[in-house]
């Protein structure tokens, strides 16, 4: 048994007190520190990805149902935001939960497929879901604008508080607070689930499905619920994405996105809420940071025609691939574990000798 599993246990424990304080300070201060820069926007994307990753981690990390189908639910959420918020003109506090509900319903529809399938075959059904989703998104023009895509301009105000314009802050700053606020809420909710009866049942299903039934767990119900909740969270992330970017088209909800989400939870830490968030931040920032680094290397050219051994893009992709493999090989428990191991030598889990 690898020590990755210890991580799964440790990661589920509450972080110590100094951590929340630090996070709160970052939450408030970062938009000011980053000013109106590009990096602030990347942080908003990272936040949106974090929400999606928290959802996926519940399904894949905690319930053991590997899904590449996340883009489908993200996309559905974005279009739901467009329909509810823009076409129907509903307010923020309706279109956002509404998108979540749509995701919930779709997840509940897809969930039953997972009941019959395991392992690689389940992965493949979710893989097919991405393509089926693309087909629906490119053909259902009334909702999605067809292959050409659609604009999404929706209100983000709860009563008098407008998240697009908080005390004169810029749109990006406001979105940072909004998105990361929702990250916090989702993290809290999912954390609670994981550490209670239903969450334990999910993990039981992951570890040993048959035995789970013998302790009285309704496996079908639980799996479908896991799909539905994870999809609901994904749809919320998708809705926020649509609202922030203001335009979406079907090609975005592709397989690569699904793979990226899996990468997030693997790199961050499987089955831990913090892991999903850390992974999302890393995977979102990585290409941009690497672009900064790669661009200043001597043998690298911005594009192929400029000579140089290799283009920035190619190098970027290669580094990206290499880093993922590196994380997999070197930090199999994910960064969450590496971080908690580094930070928490004091509160190391008790281990028999």
């Amino acid at each position: 048994m690898s020590s990755a599993e210890t991580a799964a246990v440790t990661a589920r424990r509450m972080p110590s007190l100094s951590m929340p304080v630090l996070l709160a300070v970052c939450y408030v201060a970062l938009p000011f520190v980053l000013g109106n820069s590009f990096w602030l926007q990347v942080s908003v994307y990272a936040g949106i990805a974090a929400i999606g990753a928290i959802g996926l981690n519940l399904l894949t990390g905690n319930t053991g149902q590997v899904s590449l189908g996340h883009p489908f639910f993200l996309g559905a959420g974005a279009y739901a935001a467009g329909v509810f918020g823009q076409d129907w003109g509903l307010p923020f506090w309706i279109w956002l939960p509404g998108a979540g509900l749509v995701g919930f319903g779709l997840g509940a529809l897809v969930g039953p497929f997972a009941l019959r399938l395991r392992g690689n075959y389940l992965v493949m059904v979710t893989f097919a879901l991405v393509f089926i989703g693309l087909h629906i998104f490119s053909n259902w023009s009334a909702v999605t604008g067809g292959a050409a895509g659609r604009g999404i301009s929706v209100p983000v105000a709860i009563g008098p508080i407008d998240f697009a314009d908080l005390f004169g802050a810029t749109r990006d700053q406001c979105y940072f607070w909004l998105v990361w606020g929702i990250v916090g809420i989702s993290a809290w909710l999912v954390f609670n689930i994981i550490n209670s009866r239903p969450g334990r049942a999910l993990m039981a299903i992951r570890d040993r499905e048959l035995t789970a039934e013998f302790v009285g767990i309704d496996v079908s119900h639980m799996k479908i619920a896991a799909f539905a909740i994870s999809s609901a969270v994904a749809a919320v992330a998708g809705a926020l994405y649509g609202a922030y970017v203001q335009y979406v088209s079907p090609v975005e909800w592709n397989l690569l996105l699904g793979i990226q989400y899996i990468a997030m939870i693997i790199v961050g830490g499987i089955g831990s809420v913090a892991g999903g968030v850390i992974g999302a931040v890393v995977i979102t920032f990585l290409p941009h940071l690497m672009r900064e680094v790669a661009g200043s290397l001597p043998f690298v050219a911005v594009n192929q025609s400029d000579g140089g051994l290799i283009t920035v893009f190619a190098l970027n992709q290669i580094l990206f691939g290499v880093l993922i493999v590196f994380f997999l090989v070197v930090a199999p428990g994910g960064l969450a574990r590496a971080v908690s191991a580094a930070a928490g030598r004091l509160s190391a889990p008790r281990r028999h000798k």
Partner: protein, 257 residues
């Protein structure tokens, strides 16, 4: 008063293999009933039939007066049936307490919404059940192992955790499949002791499969012997042990202690 568990004419085959054939027996309330027999005789299969893991081709199984056939696996816990597995059925990444706590699953109510929002009632329920778990952990002496994923623990400990999880289900009928296989003498003795305590304290009816005859003799009230799926003897342990058919099929000439 009728027996807690009544098995009548149960049979099941897999392809050409007849794993159980015309098996009938009663298990009285609060007794310890043992099943023995050569490898592949159908003991685990019998357990599987009792716990809805397999559906027998023929026969009836009644528990507390109602039929167990057609019952869904997940409802067994609620009906008061718990089991352990020959190959261990622990949740590998969870620690001892979480494994045992999962035994409380069907006794608890909390759903996703309640869990997510942590209503006070949910917290209370969680605390109460964690209390029960602590008692069991204490009873089995599992304290030192908390916090370690069960897969990383020693075999003997893992067997105890699995027993603890079954106990947490507060079953009326407890099925134990080879509880002391792979345990050393000391651990075997401890397991025997624990089983006695369980019987004394909770009046649990126990159905048990084991190859360790010494262990069985001291515990069992009645013993059923299977061979190739067929019952060849049923009776008190002392009698069964002397039965020439049993000696020929199962025990062999000399009995290792």
């Amino acid at each position: 008063m009728s027996a807690l568990l009544q098995v009548r004419d149960v049979g099941i085959s897999f392809g050409g293999v007849r794993a159980l054939d015309q098996v009938s027996f009663d298990v009285e309330e609060a007794s310890l009933f043992a099943v023995i027999g050569p490898n592949g005789a159908g003991k685990t299969t019998l357990f599987n039939c009792l716990t809805a893991a397999y559906r027998p081709d023929r026969g009836t199984i009644d528990f507390k007066g109602g039929s167990l056939l057609g019952v869904r696996r997940r409802d067994l816990a609620g009906m008061g049936i718990a089991r352990t597995f020959q190959n261990l059925g622990l949740f590998d990444k969870l620690d001892a307490a979480e494994n045992v706590l999962l035994g409380r699953h069907s006794a608890m109510q909390c759903g996703f919404l309640g869990a997510a929002l942590q209503f006070p009632a949910v917290r209370r329920e969680e605390a109460n059940n964690r209390g029960k778990v602590a008692e069991i952990v204490d009873l089995l002496g599992l304290d030192p192992y908390l916090g370690t994923p069960s897969a990383m623990l020693l075999y003997g400990i893992r067997k105890l955790i699995e027993l603890g999880r079954a106990l947490a289900m507060e079953p009326d009928l407890l099925l134990l499949d080879e509880p002391v296989a792979g345990l050393n003498r000391e651990e075997t003795a401890r397991m025997a002791e624990i089983i006695r305590i369980i019987r004394r304290r909770f009046k649990t009816t126990i159905l048990l499969v084991e190859h360790d005859m010494g262990f069985l003799m001291s515990l069992a009230d009645r013993v059923l012997v299977l061979e190739y799926g067929c019952p060849i003897a049923l009776g008190r342990p002392e009698d069964v042990q002397k039965d020439p058919k049993v000696i020929a099929a199962y025990l062999g000439t000399e009995v290792p202690a």
